[in-house]
Symmetry: C2
Subunit: 256 residues, 2 copies
Protein backbone atom coordinates (compact mmCIF):
# COMPACT_ATOMS: atom_id res chain seq x y z
CA UNK A 1 0.00 0.00 0.00
CA UNK A 2 1.39 3.43 -0.88
CA UNK A 3 1.64 5.87 2.01
CA UNK A 4 -0.90 8.65 1.62
CA UNK A 5 0.56 12.10 1.17
CA UNK A 6 -0.12 14.58 3.96
CA UNK A 7 -2.90 17.01 3.15
CA UNK A 8 -1.88 20.67 3.39
CA UNK A 9 -4.51 23.41 3.29
CA UNK A 10 -3.18 26.85 2.38
CA UNK A 11 -4.86 30.23 2.84
CA UNK A 12 -3.81 33.84 3.36
CA UNK A 13 -5.25 37.30 3.83
CA UNK A 14 -3.64 39.25 1.00
CA UNK A 15 -5.77 37.44 -1.58
CA UNK A 16 -5.20 34.48 -3.85
CA UNK A 17 -3.45 36.61 -6.50
CA UNK A 18 -0.67 37.74 -4.14
CA UNK A 19 2.96 36.85 -4.51
CA UNK A 20 3.12 35.66 -0.90
CA UNK A 21 0.71 32.78 -1.39
CA UNK A 22 2.16 31.62 -4.70
CA UNK A 23 5.62 31.66 -3.06
CA UNK A 24 4.31 29.57 -0.17
CA UNK A 25 2.74 27.05 -2.54
CA UNK A 26 6.03 26.85 -4.42
CA UNK A 27 8.14 26.45 -1.27
CA UNK A 28 6.13 23.50 0.10
CA UNK A 29 5.66 21.72 -3.22
CA UNK A 30 6.38 18.02 -2.95
CA UNK A 31 5.78 17.94 0.80
CA UNK A 32 2.14 16.91 0.52
CA UNK A 33 -1.11 17.21 -1.39
CA UNK A 34 -1.88 20.91 -1.53
CA UNK A 35 -5.30 22.53 -1.56
CA UNK A 36 -5.59 26.32 -1.60
CA UNK A 37 -8.66 28.23 -0.43
CA UNK A 38 -7.90 31.93 -0.24
CA UNK A 39 -9.80 35.21 -0.40
CA UNK A 40 -10.69 36.69 -3.78
CA UNK A 41 -9.84 40.18 -2.55
CA UNK A 42 -7.34 41.47 0.05
CA UNK A 43 -8.50 40.90 3.62
CA UNK A 44 -5.64 42.41 5.62
CA UNK A 45 -6.59 43.56 9.09
CA UNK A 46 -9.72 41.40 9.12
CA UNK A 47 -8.72 39.71 12.38
CA UNK A 48 -10.91 36.76 13.24
CA UNK A 49 -13.89 38.15 11.31
CA UNK A 50 -16.46 35.77 9.87
CA UNK A 51 -19.15 36.61 7.34
CA UNK A 52 -22.56 36.52 9.00
CA UNK A 53 -24.62 39.26 7.37
CA UNK A 54 -23.84 38.36 3.78
CA UNK A 55 -23.60 35.17 1.81
CA UNK A 56 -20.28 33.79 0.66
CA UNK A 57 -19.15 32.76 -2.83
CA UNK A 58 -16.64 30.02 -3.49
CA UNK A 59 -15.20 29.41 -6.96
CA UNK A 60 -12.51 27.30 -8.57
CA UNK A 61 -9.45 29.44 -9.23
CA UNK A 62 -6.96 29.10 -12.05
CA UNK A 63 -4.52 31.57 -10.56
CA UNK A 64 -2.21 28.87 -9.21
CA UNK A 65 -1.56 26.53 -12.15
CA UNK A 66 -1.17 22.86 -11.27
CA UNK A 67 -2.71 23.29 -7.81
CA UNK A 68 -6.25 22.59 -6.60
CA UNK A 69 -7.26 26.13 -5.70
CA UNK A 70 -10.44 28.01 -4.79
CA UNK A 71 -11.17 31.64 -4.23
CA UNK A 72 -13.64 32.74 -1.60
CA UNK A 73 -15.46 36.06 -1.27
CA UNK A 74 -15.22 35.89 2.53
CA UNK A 75 -12.57 36.40 5.17
CA UNK A 76 -9.52 34.20 5.85
CA UNK A 77 -11.44 32.45 8.65
CA UNK A 78 -14.37 31.84 6.27
CA UNK A 79 -11.86 30.25 3.86
CA UNK A 80 -10.72 27.73 6.47
CA UNK A 81 -14.29 26.96 7.53
CA UNK A 82 -15.53 26.51 3.96
CA UNK A 83 -12.48 24.45 3.00
CA UNK A 84 -13.12 22.05 5.86
CA UNK A 85 -16.84 21.83 5.26
CA UNK A 86 -17.26 21.86 1.48
CA UNK A 87 -13.97 21.09 -0.17
CA UNK A 88 -12.12 18.66 2.08
CA UNK A 89 -15.29 17.36 3.75
CA UNK A 90 -14.31 14.22 5.68
CA UNK A 91 -10.60 14.68 5.02
CA UNK A 92 -8.96 16.51 7.92
CA UNK A 93 -5.86 18.47 6.83
CA UNK A 94 -2.59 17.39 8.41
CA UNK A 95 -1.46 20.98 8.35
CA UNK A 96 -2.90 24.42 7.66
CA UNK A 97 -0.56 27.10 6.35
CA UNK A 98 -1.41 30.76 5.97
CA UNK A 99 0.56 33.44 4.16
CA UNK A 100 3.17 34.32 3.35
CA UNK A 101 1.87 37.66 4.52
CA UNK A 102 3.16 40.84 2.93
CA UNK A 103 4.14 42.62 6.14
CA UNK A 104 4.80 41.82 9.78
CA UNK A 105 2.33 40.04 12.06
CA UNK A 106 4.58 40.04 15.10
CA UNK A 107 3.66 41.20 18.59
CA UNK A 108 0.11 42.59 18.98
CA UNK A 109 -0.38 42.67 15.20
CA UNK A 110 -1.35 38.99 15.60
CA UNK A 111 -4.70 40.22 16.95
CA UNK A 112 -5.53 42.21 13.79
CA UNK A 113 -4.07 39.71 11.35
CA UNK A 114 -6.28 37.78 8.96
CA UNK A 115 -3.30 35.56 8.14
CA UNK A 116 -2.87 34.51 11.75
CA UNK A 117 -6.62 34.25 12.31
CA UNK A 118 -6.83 31.63 9.56
CA UNK A 119 -4.09 29.71 11.40
CA UNK A 120 -5.83 30.15 14.76
CA UNK A 121 -9.07 28.87 13.25
CA UNK A 122 -7.11 25.75 12.30
CA UNK A 123 -5.80 25.48 15.86
CA UNK A 124 -9.38 25.75 17.17
CA UNK A 125 -10.21 22.76 14.99
CA UNK A 126 -7.28 20.82 16.44
CA UNK A 127 -5.20 21.03 13.25
CA UNK A 128 -1.49 21.96 13.39
CA UNK A 129 -1.43 25.43 11.85
CA UNK A 130 1.23 27.94 10.92
CA UNK A 131 0.99 31.54 9.78
CA UNK A 132 3.99 32.93 7.88
CA UNK A 133 4.72 36.63 7.44
CA UNK A 134 7.58 38.58 5.91
CA UNK A 135 8.36 41.99 7.40
CA UNK A 136 8.11 43.65 4.02
CA UNK A 137 4.88 45.26 2.80
CA UNK A 138 6.03 45.48 -0.83
CA UNK A 139 3.67 43.74 -3.28
CA UNK A 140 6.74 42.46 -5.07
CA UNK A 141 8.71 41.56 -1.92
CA UNK A 142 11.49 38.97 -2.24
CA UNK A 143 10.23 35.85 -0.46
CA UNK A 144 13.11 33.66 -1.67
CA UNK A 145 15.16 33.90 1.58
CA UNK A 146 12.16 32.32 3.39
CA UNK A 147 12.22 29.18 1.22
CA UNK A 148 14.60 26.91 3.15
CA UNK A 149 13.12 27.88 6.53
CA UNK A 150 9.51 27.42 5.41
CA UNK A 151 10.42 23.93 4.18
CA UNK A 152 12.31 23.12 7.37
CA UNK A 153 9.42 24.25 9.61
CA UNK A 154 6.80 22.44 7.52
CA UNK A 155 8.82 19.20 7.44
CA UNK A 156 9.26 19.38 11.23
CA UNK A 157 5.56 20.04 11.74
CA UNK A 158 4.56 17.10 9.53
CA UNK A 159 6.85 14.74 11.46
CA UNK A 160 4.74 15.18 14.60
CA UNK A 161 5.24 16.76 18.00
CA UNK A 162 3.11 19.77 17.14
CA UNK A 163 1.45 20.95 20.38
CA UNK A 164 -2.33 20.55 20.55
CA UNK A 165 -4.54 23.49 19.63
CA UNK A 166 -1.62 25.77 18.85
CA UNK A 167 -0.86 27.96 15.83
CA UNK A 168 2.67 29.14 15.16
CA UNK A 169 3.14 32.81 14.33
CA UNK A 170 6.28 32.81 12.14
CA UNK A 171 7.72 36.16 11.07
CA UNK A 172 10.67 36.57 8.75
CA UNK A 173 12.92 39.61 9.12
CA UNK A 174 13.49 41.78 6.08
CA UNK A 175 17.23 41.43 5.78
CA UNK A 176 19.54 42.03 2.87
CA UNK A 177 22.03 39.42 4.01
CA UNK A 178 21.38 35.93 5.36
CA UNK A 179 18.80 35.19 8.02
CA UNK A 180 20.63 34.25 11.24
CA UNK A 181 18.31 31.43 12.30
CA UNK A 182 15.04 30.79 14.14
CA UNK A 183 14.01 31.77 17.67
CA UNK A 184 10.99 30.45 19.54
CA UNK A 185 9.80 33.41 21.57
CA UNK A 186 6.94 35.21 23.26
CA UNK A 187 4.75 37.97 21.83
CA UNK A 188 6.22 41.40 22.62
CA UNK A 189 4.12 43.97 24.46
CA UNK A 190 3.57 46.76 21.98
CA UNK A 191 0.84 48.94 20.59
CA UNK A 192 -0.29 50.54 17.41
CA UNK A 193 -0.45 54.26 17.82
CA UNK A 194 -3.34 54.93 15.56
CA UNK A 195 -2.88 57.92 13.39
CA UNK A 196 -5.77 58.76 11.17
CA UNK A 197 -5.73 61.01 8.19
CA UNK A 198 -8.74 63.26 8.08
CA UNK A 199 -9.70 64.34 4.53
CA UNK A 200 -12.59 66.17 2.91
CA UNK A 201 -14.50 64.60 0.03
CA UNK A 202 -15.53 66.75 -2.98
CA UNK A 203 -18.75 67.58 -1.14
CA UNK A 204 -16.86 68.89 1.91
CA UNK A 205 -17.70 65.91 4.13
CA UNK A 206 -15.05 64.40 6.41
CA UNK A 207 -13.65 60.95 5.86
CA UNK A 208 -10.85 59.09 7.58
CA UNK A 209 -8.02 56.73 6.67
CA UNK A 210 -6.42 54.54 9.30
CA UNK A 211 -2.63 54.91 9.26
CA UNK A 212 -1.11 53.56 12.47
CA UNK A 213 2.47 53.41 13.70
CA UNK A 214 3.81 50.41 15.54
CA UNK A 215 5.53 51.11 18.87
CA UNK A 216 7.41 48.37 20.73
CA UNK A 217 7.07 48.87 24.51
CA UNK A 218 8.94 45.71 25.50
CA UNK A 219 12.68 45.55 26.02
CA UNK A 220 12.69 41.80 26.77
CA UNK A 221 15.26 39.80 24.85
CA UNK A 222 12.90 36.80 24.60
CA UNK A 223 10.32 38.56 22.40
CA UNK A 224 9.50 38.25 18.72
CA UNK A 225 10.42 41.90 18.20
CA UNK A 226 13.89 41.32 19.67
CA UNK A 227 14.42 38.24 17.49
CA UNK A 228 13.40 40.11 14.32
CA UNK A 229 15.47 43.18 15.19
CA UNK A 230 18.51 40.91 15.45
CA UNK A 231 17.96 39.22 12.10
CA UNK A 232 16.29 36.04 13.38
CA UNK A 233 12.99 34.47 12.39
CA UNK A 234 10.52 34.77 15.29
CA UNK A 235 8.26 31.82 16.08
CA UNK A 236 5.54 32.39 18.68
CA UNK A 237 3.24 29.50 19.64
CA UNK A 238 -0.24 31.05 19.94
CA UNK A 239 -3.39 29.78 21.57
CA UNK A 240 -6.96 31.01 21.65
CA UNK A 241 -7.62 30.93 25.38
CA UNK A 242 -7.74 34.64 26.21
CA UNK A 243 -8.24 34.03 29.95
CA UNK A 244 -5.83 36.17 31.96
CA UNK A 245 -5.35 33.58 34.69
CA UNK A 246 -3.17 35.90 36.76
CA UNK A 247 -6.01 38.44 36.92
CA UNK A 248 -8.72 36.07 38.19
CA UNK A 249 -8.16 36.83 41.87
CA UNK A 250 -7.78 40.58 41.48
CA UNK A 251 -11.04 40.75 39.51
CA UNK A 252 -12.80 38.78 42.24
CA UNK A 253 -11.35 41.18 44.79
CA UNK A 254 -12.40 44.22 42.75
CA UNK A 255 -16.02 43.02 42.48
CA UNK A 256 -16.45 42.30 46.20
CA UNK B 1 -13.03 72.37 43.08
CA UNK B 2 -15.70 70.02 41.78
CA UNK B 3 -14.58 66.45 41.12
CA UNK B 4 -14.58 65.70 37.42
CA UNK B 5 -16.98 62.98 36.34
CA UNK B 6 -15.38 59.80 35.04
CA UNK B 7 -15.40 59.57 31.25
CA UNK B 8 -17.11 56.45 29.91
CA UNK B 9 -16.80 55.53 26.22
CA UNK B 10 -19.45 53.12 24.96
CA UNK B 11 -19.45 51.06 21.77
CA UNK B 12 -20.94 47.78 20.55
CA UNK B 13 -21.07 45.55 17.47
CA UNK B 14 -24.81 45.28 16.84
CA UNK B 15 -24.99 48.89 15.69
CA UNK B 16 -25.93 52.15 17.33
CA UNK B 17 -29.66 51.59 16.75
CA UNK B 18 -29.75 48.35 18.75
CA UNK B 19 -31.64 47.87 21.99
CA UNK B 20 -28.53 46.50 23.70
CA UNK B 21 -26.56 49.74 23.46
CA UNK B 22 -29.44 52.00 24.45
CA UNK B 23 -30.04 49.73 27.46
CA UNK B 24 -26.37 49.96 28.44
CA UNK B 25 -26.43 53.77 28.15
CA UNK B 26 -29.54 53.82 30.31
CA UNK B 27 -28.11 51.44 32.93
CA UNK B 28 -24.92 53.47 33.51
CA UNK B 29 -26.56 56.89 33.42
CA UNK B 30 -25.37 59.09 36.25
CA UNK B 31 -22.15 57.15 36.74
CA UNK B 32 -20.06 59.36 34.49
CA UNK B 33 -19.90 61.48 31.38
CA UNK B 34 -20.96 59.22 28.54
CA UNK B 35 -19.75 59.34 24.95
CA UNK B 36 -21.01 56.76 22.46
CA UNK B 37 -19.18 55.82 19.25
CA UNK B 38 -20.80 52.80 17.67
CA UNK B 39 -21.12 51.24 14.22
CA UNK B 40 -23.75 52.54 11.83
CA UNK B 41 -24.55 49.01 10.69
CA UNK B 42 -24.38 45.61 12.46
CA UNK B 43 -20.82 44.32 12.81
CA UNK B 44 -21.38 41.01 14.57
CA UNK B 45 -18.65 38.44 14.01
CA UNK B 46 -16.17 41.11 12.95
CA UNK B 47 -13.60 40.01 15.52
CA UNK B 48 -10.68 42.41 15.79
CA UNK B 49 -11.08 43.64 12.22
CA UNK B 50 -9.93 47.15 11.33
CA UNK B 51 -10.74 49.04 8.15
CA UNK B 52 -7.63 49.36 6.01
CA UNK B 53 -8.78 49.14 2.40
CA UNK B 54 -11.60 51.65 2.66
CA UNK B 55 -12.06 55.01 4.26
CA UNK B 56 -14.21 55.47 7.33
CA UNK B 57 -17.07 57.88 7.96
CA UNK B 58 -17.94 59.30 11.35
CA UNK B 59 -21.12 61.28 11.96
CA UNK B 60 -23.00 62.76 14.88
CA UNK B 61 -25.92 60.51 15.77
CA UNK B 62 -29.26 61.54 17.18
CA UNK B 63 -30.33 57.99 17.92
CA UNK B 64 -29.54 58.27 21.63
CA UNK B 65 -31.28 61.47 22.80
CA UNK B 66 -29.47 63.40 25.52
CA UNK B 67 -26.18 61.58 24.94
CA UNK B 68 -23.11 62.66 22.96
CA UNK B 69 -23.18 59.97 20.28
CA UNK B 70 -21.48 59.24 16.97
CA UNK B 71 -22.00 56.58 14.36
CA UNK B 72 -19.09 55.13 12.48
CA UNK B 73 -19.07 53.25 9.18
CA UNK B 74 -16.25 50.99 10.40
CA UNK B 75 -15.82 48.08 12.76
CA UNK B 76 -16.12 48.14 16.57
CA UNK B 77 -12.31 48.40 16.84
CA UNK B 78 -12.35 51.33 14.38
CA UNK B 79 -14.94 53.00 16.65
CA UNK B 80 -12.63 52.80 19.67
CA UNK B 81 -9.64 54.04 17.68
CA UNK B 82 -11.54 56.95 16.12
CA UNK B 83 -13.14 57.87 19.44
CA UNK B 84 -9.76 58.12 21.08
CA UNK B 85 -8.15 59.98 18.24
CA UNK B 86 -10.81 62.38 16.97
CA UNK B 87 -13.54 62.70 19.55
CA UNK B 88 -11.93 62.41 22.96
CA UNK B 89 -8.49 63.50 21.73
CA UNK B 90 -6.39 64.23 24.84
CA UNK B 91 -9.04 62.94 27.24
CA UNK B 92 -8.38 59.30 28.10
CA UNK B 93 -11.56 57.43 29.02
CA UNK B 94 -11.70 56.06 32.57
CA UNK B 95 -13.67 53.11 31.25
CA UNK B 96 -14.68 51.60 27.92
CA UNK B 97 -17.91 49.61 27.79
CA UNK B 98 -19.10 47.53 24.86
CA UNK B 99 -22.51 45.99 24.29
CA UNK B 100 -24.83 44.89 25.59
CA UNK B 101 -24.46 42.29 22.87
CA UNK B 102 -27.54 40.50 21.57
CA UNK B 103 -26.26 36.94 22.04
CA UNK B 104 -23.53 35.10 23.93
CA UNK B 105 -19.84 35.92 23.66
CA UNK B 106 -18.73 33.26 26.13
CA UNK B 107 -15.98 30.70 25.58
CA UNK B 108 -14.31 30.77 22.14
CA UNK B 109 -16.94 33.16 20.80
CA UNK B 110 -14.79 35.89 22.35
CA UNK B 111 -12.43 35.44 19.39
CA UNK B 112 -15.12 36.21 16.79
CA UNK B 113 -16.84 38.90 18.79
CA UNK B 114 -16.79 42.52 17.67
CA UNK B 115 -18.18 43.51 21.08
CA UNK B 116 -15.27 41.94 22.92
CA UNK B 117 -12.75 43.17 20.36
CA UNK B 118 -13.79 46.75 21.09
CA UNK B 119 -13.14 46.03 24.77
CA UNK B 120 -9.80 44.34 24.01
CA UNK B 121 -8.76 47.34 21.93
CA UNK B 122 -9.38 49.42 25.05
CA UNK B 123 -7.27 47.00 27.09
CA UNK B 124 -4.48 47.33 24.52
CA UNK B 125 -4.60 51.08 25.13
CA UNK B 126 -4.34 50.52 28.88
CA UNK B 127 -7.94 51.53 29.58
CA UNK B 128 -10.15 49.40 31.88
CA UNK B 129 -12.64 47.84 29.47
CA UNK B 130 -15.69 45.63 29.78
CA UNK B 131 -17.75 43.82 27.16
CA UNK B 132 -21.30 42.87 28.15
CA UNK B 133 -23.39 40.23 26.38
CA UNK B 134 -26.79 38.71 27.03
CA UNK B 135 -27.32 35.10 25.94
CA UNK B 136 -30.38 36.04 23.94
CA UNK B 137 -30.18 36.81 20.21
CA UNK B 138 -33.64 38.39 20.08
CA UNK B 139 -33.61 41.95 18.69
CA UNK B 140 -36.14 42.82 21.36
CA UNK B 141 -34.47 40.85 24.19
CA UNK B 142 -35.23 41.87 27.77
CA UNK B 143 -32.05 43.49 29.11
CA UNK B 144 -33.71 44.72 32.33
CA UNK B 145 -32.41 41.85 34.54
CA UNK B 146 -28.85 43.00 33.65
CA UNK B 147 -29.39 46.52 35.03
CA UNK B 148 -28.36 46.11 38.67
CA UNK B 149 -25.34 43.95 37.80
CA UNK B 150 -24.10 46.27 35.05
CA UNK B 151 -24.24 49.15 37.52
CA UNK B 152 -22.53 47.13 40.25
CA UNK B 153 -19.71 46.04 37.91
CA UNK B 154 -19.22 49.54 36.48
CA UNK B 155 -19.20 51.15 39.95
CA UNK B 156 -16.59 48.60 41.10
CA UNK B 157 -14.47 49.19 38.00
CA UNK B 158 -14.55 52.97 38.46
CA UNK B 159 -13.43 52.64 42.10
CA UNK B 160 -10.08 51.23 41.00
CA UNK B 161 -8.32 47.90 41.28
CA UNK B 162 -8.94 47.04 37.63
CA UNK B 163 -6.01 44.88 36.46
CA UNK B 164 -3.73 46.46 33.85
CA UNK B 165 -4.32 45.70 30.17
CA UNK B 166 -7.32 43.48 30.84
CA UNK B 167 -10.83 43.44 29.37
CA UNK B 168 -13.66 41.71 31.19
CA UNK B 169 -15.90 39.42 29.17
CA UNK B 170 -19.22 39.57 31.02
CA UNK B 171 -22.04 37.29 29.85
CA UNK B 172 -25.53 37.31 31.29
CA UNK B 173 -27.56 34.10 31.27
CA UNK B 174 -30.98 34.16 29.66
CA UNK B 175 -33.07 33.23 32.65
CA UNK B 176 -36.73 33.69 33.34
CA UNK B 177 -36.23 33.94 37.07
CA UNK B 178 -33.59 35.86 39.01
CA UNK B 179 -29.92 35.75 38.14
CA UNK B 180 -28.08 33.83 40.89
CA UNK B 181 -25.00 36.07 41.06
CA UNK B 182 -21.63 36.62 39.39
CA UNK B 183 -18.75 34.18 38.92
CA UNK B 184 -15.23 35.12 37.86
CA UNK B 185 -14.12 32.22 35.67
CA UNK B 186 -11.99 30.98 32.82
CA UNK B 187 -12.91 30.66 29.15
CA UNK B 188 -14.35 27.21 28.41
CA UNK B 189 -12.77 25.05 25.72
CA UNK B 190 -15.38 24.74 23.03
CA UNK B 191 -15.79 25.01 19.31
CA UNK B 192 -18.20 26.19 16.70
CA UNK B 193 -19.18 23.34 14.48
CA UNK B 194 -19.59 25.26 11.29
CA UNK B 195 -22.60 24.26 9.31
CA UNK B 196 -23.05 26.05 6.05
CA UNK B 197 -26.17 26.23 4.01
CA UNK B 198 -25.48 25.79 0.33
CA UNK B 199 -28.06 27.50 -1.89
CA UNK B 200 -28.43 28.24 -5.60
CA UNK B 201 -29.05 31.78 -6.82
CA UNK B 202 -31.58 32.45 -9.61
CA UNK B 203 -28.78 31.92 -12.14
CA UNK B 204 -27.93 28.49 -10.73
CA UNK B 205 -24.69 29.57 -9.04
CA UNK B 206 -23.80 28.30 -5.57
CA UNK B 207 -23.69 30.58 -2.56
CA UNK B 208 -23.21 29.84 1.11
CA UNK B 209 -24.54 31.01 4.45
CA UNK B 210 -22.59 30.42 7.62
CA UNK B 211 -24.76 28.79 10.28
CA UNK B 212 -22.64 27.26 13.05
CA UNK B 213 -23.55 25.35 16.17
CA UNK B 214 -21.75 25.89 19.44
CA UNK B 215 -20.39 22.77 21.16
CA UNK B 216 -18.96 22.93 24.69
CA UNK B 217 -16.10 20.44 25.06
CA UNK B 218 -15.17 21.42 28.62
CA UNK B 219 -16.72 19.85 31.72
CA UNK B 220 -14.77 22.09 34.14
CA UNK B 221 -16.87 23.73 36.82
CA UNK B 222 -14.70 26.87 36.75
CA UNK B 223 -15.65 27.87 33.19
CA UNK B 224 -17.90 30.59 31.81
CA UNK B 225 -20.13 27.95 30.23
CA UNK B 226 -20.65 26.22 33.60
CA UNK B 227 -21.47 29.54 35.30
CA UNK B 228 -24.03 30.47 32.62
CA UNK B 229 -25.60 27.00 32.58
CA UNK B 230 -26.18 27.33 36.31
CA UNK B 231 -27.82 30.74 36.07
CA UNK B 232 -24.80 32.86 37.03
CA UNK B 233 -23.22 35.79 35.21
CA UNK B 234 -19.80 34.74 33.86
CA UNK B 235 -16.91 37.20 34.10
CA UNK B 236 -13.68 36.23 32.31
CA UNK B 237 -10.67 38.57 32.51
CA UNK B 238 -9.15 38.55 29.01
CA UNK B 239 -5.77 39.64 27.76
CA UNK B 240 -4.25 40.01 24.32
CA UNK B 241 -1.02 38.10 24.79
CA UNK B 242 -1.70 34.99 22.68
CA UNK B 243 1.65 33.38 23.58
CA UNK B 244 1.11 29.77 24.63
CA UNK B 245 3.90 29.82 27.21
CA UNK B 246 3.44 26.13 28.00
CA UNK B 247 4.16 25.26 24.36
CA UNK B 248 7.45 27.19 24.03
CA UNK B 249 9.66 24.24 24.91
CA UNK B 250 7.81 21.65 22.85
CA UNK B 251 7.98 23.90 19.77
CA UNK B 252 11.73 24.30 20.29
CA UNK B 253 12.00 20.55 20.58
CA UNK B 254 9.92 19.98 17.45
CA UNK B 255 12.06 22.32 15.36
CA UNK B 256 15.39 20.74 16.38
Amino acid sequence: MPTEKPLILISNDDGIFSKGISSLVDFVSGLGEIVVVAPTLPQSGMGHAITIHEHIRLDVSKLLPGVEAYECSGTPVDCVKLAKHFILKDRKPDLILSGINHGSNSSVSVIYSGTMSAALEGAMEGIPSIGFSLCDYDHDADFEPCREFVRKIVISALKGGFPDHIALNVNFPKVKEGIKGMKVCRQAMARWKEEFENRKDPRGRDYFWLAGNFTNLDDGKDTDEAALANGYISIVPCHFDLTAYKALLSVEEMLK
